[in-house]
Amino acid sequence: MTQLQIFGATVLSVVSLLGALPAFSQTPEEKGFDVAARSDRSDRGFGDSEAEMTMVLRNAAGQESSRSMYFSTLEIPDESVGDKSLVLFSTPKDIEGTALLSHAKILDPDDQWLYLPALKRVKRISSKNKSGPFVGSEFAFEDFTASELNKFSYKYLREEPCGDLQCDVVERYPRYENSGYTKQISWVDTTEYQIRKIEFYDRRDSLLKELVFEDYRKYDDKFWRAHRLSMKNLQTNKSTDLVYGEYKFGVGLTDNDFVKGRLSRLR
């Protein structure tokens, strides 16, 4: 190594140190928020999306049952308002056509309507039930609707390897009411900024569930989507896998596709 190279390396490391300095002055809370915001904003601009999903429910004895449904989402770019989403069930056949429409809010309760096809009835439902199971699965309602950045406050913990990647480990605390969790610990990779794993801690602050995100695929060169989400309840040994089909983006969905009056016109 020549003198010049040593000089150059020194300059570089000083510069990179300087560059890193603002991060040192950040509190863990700020850094945690930044990691979450970077992850959330990597998805900004997707507009709308549709996907089919199969939910496989497994009880402690390993017995399986499954449900299939069709998911569509409309992005609301304003971070102070949540996205709109629609779930339409296709199996089990006795609930075929049942649909759930959600207008997510940040801290206020979400607006939710349920459509019951046998009576053709639209029912506004209470969204207080954040921590209850979603259609008998190990996913709670809040696990689907609480992906909005500002629904949590954050705290940065550490960086560590996660599989082949490096991950930022960030603790997050629900800011909305009626959550079943005191905290969640999330692993967000430092390459694509996607969530790889979440641990959920119950109201007694003991580890309740673990959610692993797998089979990430990139759409339109920008948007990452996990196609396999495996949730395991560590207290009951029950588990639920969500297996997604291909996503479609830019389908042309509008606000009018996410109104209660459309629920009876979905099939």
Partner: protein
């Protein structure tokens, strides 16, 4: 003979179900979708029938099938639906019947939709009585809870705006309410000759009825408001000339209906009200109450909901008979939130003045992927001879229904 029929049905039904179940290979995302269900229903009655000509059997077997054919165009703008329904009942020939629940074509533009054909429409928010729901006629032979409806021919235009949904219904043909026959349970002392009705309108069942409805939500409040002009879905039952039957008479009515729900925390506050210019007067009726849910009771996955509703109806005895005139409904809903969607709803409706009481229990659970079992228990107590439910007072029953979906 009847026993032979019963054996035949019980013996052959599983095979029939299997055959019907074989047709489910059609992919949901293609243009066509075939589905439906076949069901075996068993009813057991606690007492002998009240009226002499009613069937003396304390058990009743019936079989039903509903087949759904749906289509959507490649661009998604057009869809069609064809849903025939059929029931065979061993005792009551009027309950053995066939209906087209849906048979329509619809074109979806933005922001409107046009639908032409037979369809089913539900309006309302309350649980104990569906006061504002008026588009479809009740298929009363199916169930006395009046939640089963006959398909209604219509031209329907729906326009969605930021400020709400406007729907216009033109209803060119009227469906007569079905009633149990001479052999059937749940009937008045005389059977209703329901397919020979009289009408106030000279156009009879060809009178073109109209309805216009607005629905939307404002924050936590959901609201629906409509105006209906046309043939009353509720008949007055008059003694026929032969003196051996009742004849339905359908008046022309004008009706305004309102439904409101305020959703706050775990509370659902509900109101339905109608104002009807009926046969000989203008009267109002309403039902109001709440549903409060305790979520994840005792740290389980189960929810328990508590329901309370008050029913009021000021109509005179000249108008079609109602039981929901001054009654309190109290109920409990227990949802296990398990993979089998197990749920139980139990309730009583008590008339405040006469103490006439209607008890109802409904329980349901899925077995495997496609078999659904429903249990119903219904009973009437404290019914005196001059009260509206007296005719059904010895029709307490338990019903088991096993449905196979495909």
């Amino acid at each position: 003979m009847k026993d032979t029929v019963r054996q035949l049905i019980l013996g052959w039904l599983p095979a029939l179900i299997l055959v019907a179940g074989a047709g489910n290979a059609m992919a949901a995302d293609s243009g066509w979708d075939f589905s439906g269900n076949t069901a075996l229903q068993l009813r057991g009655f606690a007492q002998d029938a009240l009226w002499p000509e009613q069937n003396s059997s304390d058990a009743e077997v019936s079989v039903s099938g509903e087949w759904e054919v749906r289509w959507r165009s490649d661009d998604g703008d057009q869809r069609a639906s064809f849903i025939p329904f059929a029931r065979w009942d061993e005792n009551d020939e009027e309950r053995t019947h066939l209906d087209l629940r849906e048979a329509y074509w619809a074109y979806e533009g933005d922001p409107f939709e046009l639908l032409v054909g037979i369809n089913k429409v539900f309006w309302g928010v309350t649980e104990s009585v569906h006061l504002v729901d008026i588009i479809n006629q009740t298929d009363l032979v199916e169930d006395i809870d009046q939640e089963d409806k006959l398909g209604q021919p219509m031209v329907n235009l729906a326009v969605q705006q930021d400020w709400g949904l406007i729907t216009l219904y033109v209803l060119p043909y009227f469906r007569e309410r079905t009633f149990p026959g001479l052999d059937g349970r749940f009937r008045a002392p005389l059977p209703v000759d329901w397919d020979d009705a009289d009408y106030e309108s000279g156009a009879k069942d060809k009178h073109v009825d109209m309805a216009l409805r607005y629905s939307h939500y404002f924050g936590d409040v959901d609201v629906g408001l409509y105006y209906f002009h046309g043939t009353s879905r509720e008949p007055r039952l008059l003694l026929a000339d032969n003196g051996r039957e009742l004849k339905p008479f359908y008046d022309q009515i004008d009706q305004v209906g309102l439904d409101l729900q305020y959703t706050q925390d775990a509370w659902l506050w509900k109101l339905e009200a109608i104002l009807r210019d009926g046969f000989d007067e203008t009267f109002m009726a309403s039902v109001a109450g709440f549903e409060y849910t305790f979520y994840q009771v005792n740290e389980s996955d189960a929810d328990i909901g508590v329901l309370l509703e008050y029913q009021y109806d000021e109509r005179s005895s000249q108008e079609p008979l109602t039981t929901a005139d001054n009654d309190v409904f109290a109920g409990v809903r227990w949802s296990l939130n398990d993979a089998q969607d197990t749920a139980v709803l139990a309730g009583v409706v008590v008339d405040k003045k006469t103490s006439e009481t209607f008890f109802n229990l409904e329980a349901e659970r899925r077995f495997g992927d496609s078999v659904f079992l429903e249990l119903r228990l219904r009973a009437i107590t404290n019914s005196e001879q001059d009260e509206p439910l007296y005719s059904f007072s010895r029709d307490d029953y338990i019903q088991l229904q096993l449905s196979r979906y495909f």
